[in-house]
């Protein structure tokens, strides 16, 4: 489709020169105009754009100074500002406000929302949050990247308790979480500046940068956790909070700029704030590396399952706890029109307390126009729904729900439901386990052009009954099996949605408090909800030793 507008504008004068005033009613006028618009060849599609610009441009280039500016801006660090602001809702002039040239103390105080009292800030008086001088305050600059010269407290100036810009207040002012340990140099610098002036965006950013946000030095790299297709994940420690973080380092190909997965992951994650979605703390961009700083979670669900001593059974209460949190996180994402598209136990992080968090949104995408054909390579093969395996492009939230079913089975049985190396094998497994799709009930599967080939190839392998889901799950809790069955449906529209599944009788056993939580509240804050120790005999799904030996095969 060629540019419409250009063609319209080009021929505008010709087409409309004849149109004068008309006495038709308004609607007729619009209509007449539009018709003539069309007749006047305005909608003719041109194969080439007409050159609109007659004068050559002086330049269209990013000069070297541009690059320098880019460097400088990048050096400041990329700060996800809302991150902090949400956690600490202090009124804060975050938006840019034109800064008057000269500032009288008064006028600025008048409209500065974080104005604290009327004592004059003494530039040279720096005190720690505990009221002592920074010299003895526990907040030292020893491990800070930029060790600043210690400031000498001028006792003479201390006529009245002018603890105006203590660490705490600066944290408040910059909307920072309270557990940050600010470097002394920052405290000092901020106190030198006339702080009761409104905080401009630039100043705030500069301050945040000095504190250490957006800087690689702020994070101590400890050990490698894993490697993905486009990123390396490293365990690190934030020198600001002294907490562990996960650093996802994305190699930048010089050729194509920022990788599209990274842009999407960040832009999606920054809009998702939920107790069951991993939190993005910071983004650091250096020349060769884009580092996303995530909260550190000890294990993923796969590691959790591997660590259970009894290798065959997981505590049913824990299954319930995890699947509920998984559904809760997914329901939140789906409501925000974000698909995860890559659910697997390795992408579900589990904290020591038993909180489950969705991670790795690299493949996730905000769903929008249905005309778009999504890439086929989305979900890891084992957790891919059959319609996607057959090449369906009708993606919706239901593609995630199949994966939930597979994970539910894996937790209950402690081994994956379908394990295959190829698309054909995977489809064969699925058809054998769930039975042949029926053309009337499962039109999407059966109408797929590739379906007949697969079906003939791999339906019967002689094992028959033992491959059926009912047989494989015969020792399962009834309600768990019912829930599982509702996820493992051939037709996308038949699969239970995450929000519906939370109401399922299997999960209704949980205390009612878990259904009334706010987004950012963890399920574990509800009394009675906790991670149960594994390997307790009474809560096993099955206790028959005979079945165990069957499973061992």
């Amino acid at each position: 489709m060629e540019l419409f507008l250009v063609s319209l504008l080009d021929t505008r004068r010709r087409a409309f020169s004849s149109l004068g005033t008309s006495s038709a009613p308004d609607d007729e006028k619009v209509k007449a105009k539009t018709i003539s618009c069309f007749q006047g060849q305005l909608f003719k599609l041109k194969s080439k754009c007409a050159p609109i610009v007659s004068q050559p441009y002086r330049t269209w280039s990013l000069s070297d100074s541009m690059s320098q500016l880019a460097d400088r801006l990048a050096a400041d660090g990329i700060i996800v500002e809302e991150d902090c602001a949400l956690r600490n809702p202090v009124p804060e002039p975050r938006h840019h406000r034109p800064k008057p040239r000269t500032h009288s103390m008064y006028s600025s105080r008048m409209y500065h929302p974080t104005y604290y009292g009327d004592a004059v800030v003494q530039e040279s008086c720096v005190l720690g949050s505990d009221g002592e001088s920074v010299e003895v305050s526990p907040c030292t600059s020893d491990q800070m990247p930029n060790s600043a010269p210690r400031y000498v407290v001028n006792v003479k100036m201390r006529q009245k308790p002018a603890r105006k810009w203590s660490e705490e207040e600066i944290q408040k002012r910059l909307s920072l979480p309270a557990d940050l340990r600010l470097p002394v140099s920052v405290l000092e610098k901020l106190n030198k500046a006339p702080l009761d002036q409104p905080l401009t965006r630039k100043n705030r950013r500069a301050s945040l940068s000095e504190i250490g946000f957006g800087k690689l030095e702020t994070y101590e790299r400890l050990e490698r956790l894993g490697e993905g297709t486009y990123a390396t994940v490293i365990k690190g420690r934030s020198l600001l909070t002294n907490k562990f973080v996960a650093l996802k380092e994305i190699r930048l190909e010089q050729d194509e700029g920022a990788p599209c997965t990274a842009i999407r992951e960040v832009s999606l994650l920054r809009n998702l704030r939920h107790a069951n979605v991993v939190t993005l703390h910071d983004i650091i961009h250096t020349d060769r590396l884009l580092t996303l700083v995530f909260e550190y979670v000890e294990k993923d669900l796969k590691q959790y399952m591997d660590s259970i001593q009894d290798r065959y059974y997981m505590n049913l209460k824990n299954i319930r706890l995890f699947i509920f949190q998984l559904l809760r996180g997914l329901a939140y994402c789906h409501q925000r029109k974000v698909l995860h598209r890559d659910l697997k136990p390795q992408n579900l992080l589990v904290t020591a307390r038993g909180e489950l968090k969705l991670a790795d949104f690299g493949l996730a995408r905000a769903k929008s126009v249905p005309t778009k054909t999504y890439s086929n390579e989305v979900v890891t093969l084992w957790y891919r729904p059959p319609d996607v395996l057959l090449g369906s492009t009708d993606y919706s939230t239901h593609i995630d729900m199949w994966g939930v079913g597979c994970i539910l089975y894996e937790m209950a049985k402690m081994r994956p439901l379908f394990t295959s190396v190829s698309r054909e094998e995977q489809l064969g497994f699925i058809f054998r386990t769930l039975g042949a799709p029926d053309p009337d009930r499962h039109p999407t599967i059966c109408s797929s052009p590739e379906f007949p080939n697969f079906f003939r190839q791999c339906y019967d392998d002689g094992l028959g009954q033992k491959r059926r889901l009912e047989y494989m799950c015969r020792e399962f809790d009834k309600r768990l099996f019912d829930l599982l069955r509702r996820f493992l449906q051939y037709e996308g529209r038949d699969r239970m949605s995450a929000a519906e599944a939370m109401e399922h009788s299997f999960l209704r056993v949980l205390p009612p408090g878990v259904f009334q939580l706010k987004d950012d509240e963890s399920v574990l804050t509800v009394p009675g909800v906790k991670l149960e120790p594994e390997r307790t005999d009474e809560s096993r799904i099955s206790t028959l030793p005979a079945e165990r030996s069957f499973l061992q095969k």
Binding site: M1, F4, V6, R12, C37, I52, S54, M66, A258, V369
Partner: protein, 257 residues
């Protein structure tokens, strides 16, 4: 390009980046007057034109324009060449919309061709590589300026649903005229006035565009003249006409009086 602008000659401001421009919070340090900066509309048109040459998705163009619109609310537009920013926006939009057809090299070439129509196509030389590299860097500057917020909801999805419904209702008309393509082109054109798209509800925009194209072909929906009331309860004939007039006047500069 527009009635008010007169001729199509357009003064582009080269990148004026020096020590003074880095303090982007203070408008007075920027030595560009509004006269020299191209109008936002021109930039939006540039984006559309570029996206068409790139054979990018319709949605990519729309997202780039909204990204650019957001940049206009920031000070960065005063110190960095707006065309460069627009090019970076196209790049970001193509990535965030998963438009794999768009590569950085093509973007540089396209922008060059459009902005310098009289010059030969770009050689793969040092200048090209410099531009390409700096565009990659500018992408990060823009991303940071936008705080990585690149997601928008467009009326496209709704429009697809409306079209789908109408196709089954009146298949002949849809065979005879390229209504589907035109509807999406008109919708994309509407983005040259991003305020129009943002201020009205998605339903209103989609319906106005649809109705305008149908009127252009002199098609009435058989036995359902006021089809818009079926799609949206809040739509009235008067409102629809106002929206249509707005598109004709503001987007296509058609005077109705």
């Amino acid at each position: 390009m527009s009635n008010s602008d007169g001729d199509d000659g357009c003064e582009i401001v080269a990148v004026v980046a020096g020590p003074s421009t880095s303090s982007s919070d203070d408008p007075s340090t920027s030595n560009l007057s509004s006269k020299e900066t191209p109008r936002p509309r021109r930039i939006y048109e540039f984006i559309i034109r570029c996206c068409i040459r790139l054979e990018a998705l319709n949605r990519t163009a729309c997202t780039s324009i909204l990204l650019m619109k957001r940049l206009y609310e920031r000070q960065i537009v005063k110190c960095i060449c707006n065309y460069s920013l627009a090019t970076a926006c196209i790049l970001i939009a193509s990535k965030s919309e998963e438009d794999s057809a768009v590569r950085i090299r093509d973007v540089v070439n396209c922008a060059h061709r459009i902005l310098n129509p009289d010059e030969p196509a770009m050689e793969v030389d040092d200048t090209f590589w410099t531009q390409r590299r700096s565009l990659g860097r500018l992408e990060f500057v823009v991303l940071r300026e936008l705080s990585f917020e690149t997601y928008f909801e467009h009326p496209h999805q709704l429009l697809s649903i409306y079209l789908d419904t109408l196709v089954s209702w009146m298949p002949q008309e849809f065979e005879k005229f390229p209504i589907k393509d035109e509807v999406f082109s008109v919708l994309r054109d509407c983005y040259v006035i991003p305020e129009f798209v943002l201020e009205h509800s998605k339903e209103s925009v989609a319906l106005a565009v649809l109705s305008l194209v149908l009127k252009g072909h002199n098609i009435t929906v058989p036995s359902c003249r006021d089809f818009y009331t079926i799609f949206s309860k809040h739509m009235t004939e008067k409102k629809l006409r106002l929206l249509e007039e707005e598109i004709l006047q503001d987007v296509y500069y058609q005077r109705l009086k």
